[in-house]
Amino acid sequence: MEELIQKLKEEIIEVLNLEEMEPGDIDPDAPLFGEGLGLDSIDALELIVLLEKNYGIKIEDPKDGRKIFFTLRTMAEYITEHQK
């Protein structure tokens, strides 16, 4: 799990162009959206693409993103459960 979280940190920084961020800056248990990283709805869509591209997981309803991407940890848990 911790390994996956570390990997996700790097992937998120890359796909969301969080240039000012280091992996260490992201708290795996802090909310990703809202104040935290300043992410918005487009970033959520970008994370949906990331799940499909890197982990083969397809999300049909963008509303599901809110729960899955609540924190880095919930995202990692979702990947672990759903990866084929």
Partner: protein, 399 residues
Amino acid sequence: MTRIVVTGMGMITAIGKDTGENLESLKTRRHGVGSIKLLDTIHKDELLAAEIRFTNDELAAISGITDGERYTRTSLLGLIAASQAYESGIGKYGDTDNTRTTVVSTTTVGGMDKTEQYYRDFLESSKYSHFVYTHDCSDSTRQISDHLGIRHLNSTLSTACSSSINAILIGAKMIKHGLADRVIAGGTDALSKFTLNGFNTLMILDKGHCRPFDASRTGLNLGEGAAYIVLESEAAAKKDNKKIYCEINGYANANDAYHQTASSPDGYGPYLAMKEALDISGLKPSQIDYINAHGTGTDNNDLTEGLAIEKIFAPDIPPVSSTKPYTGHTLAAAGVIDVIFSILSIQQQLIFPNLNFSRKIEELSFEPVRELQQAEIDHVLTNSFGFGGNDSSLVLSKY
């Protein structure tokens, strides 16, 4: 004060290749949304669209040009609609028009359809290299101007889905301030893989038929089409004894300044555009008889547009409907298509139904018009909102 009137109009959409056919479809609930047949896309079987069921060769035949293979689909659609507008408002086209007639056209995809088809060929041979030049957004405007014989200014603008309302806005201003005698204003957009895939990644395409203002709505259907209107000053139109379809009574553009794609939660930009268009028209909100809404069917648009409508009109909200379930969302052409529908509404004293509606949005107090309605219509407000927070509204009045 120069009054601006509409003296000509023309259109082609998935529900008809001219204004008459469009009107007939609107009256008989015949929509144009269905499975994708002409566009070669991997989404053929999973997504619906409002496709115009003519191949490019057939479109060329309709527009009467012999070398159709030189034109992109966006240009062909534009040519058809613009020449209808020219014929209905100005006369026979094709000879050199030495008057100060201006074309203000809009598109979001430009010649993308041909670029998609021949992108790889561009590198290997010169067979299709003329389509490198038609890729440009402004090239379709040039082709339309050439086709109509227009020698005065032509200009292309692109502000996403509100584009063609902004063309009318700029055209009206040009006449008011003496830069042109008449303006052919409108927009054209062909379906392309570029937009279909793009909107698909934004997850705002409904896999079924779009349901504007319905509680269960999940997105829009893309469409293709083109429409143009002829704008003139009232004095010029009267001097030439022109038939006047309606008056452009108020217009406004504002920026929501909130997010690249989403409207602000209370729809402040849409509110500003509607309010300012009303202010310019000098009409009271209670004088608006019908609102032809932008109503795309996305979660965000319909809610925020609805809230903005309420902020201006509540408690007496005029009849509202979105005609997107008929034509799909035609992007740059959407605004001017809605303008022509609004003009038809004034001419026919009809309110066109908002198809596919069954359940009201909880946060809103009103529901859209479901059935074709006869009504006394003197003033119509129509909206067009685009990505980039670009929001525009027009007030059209019976003349």
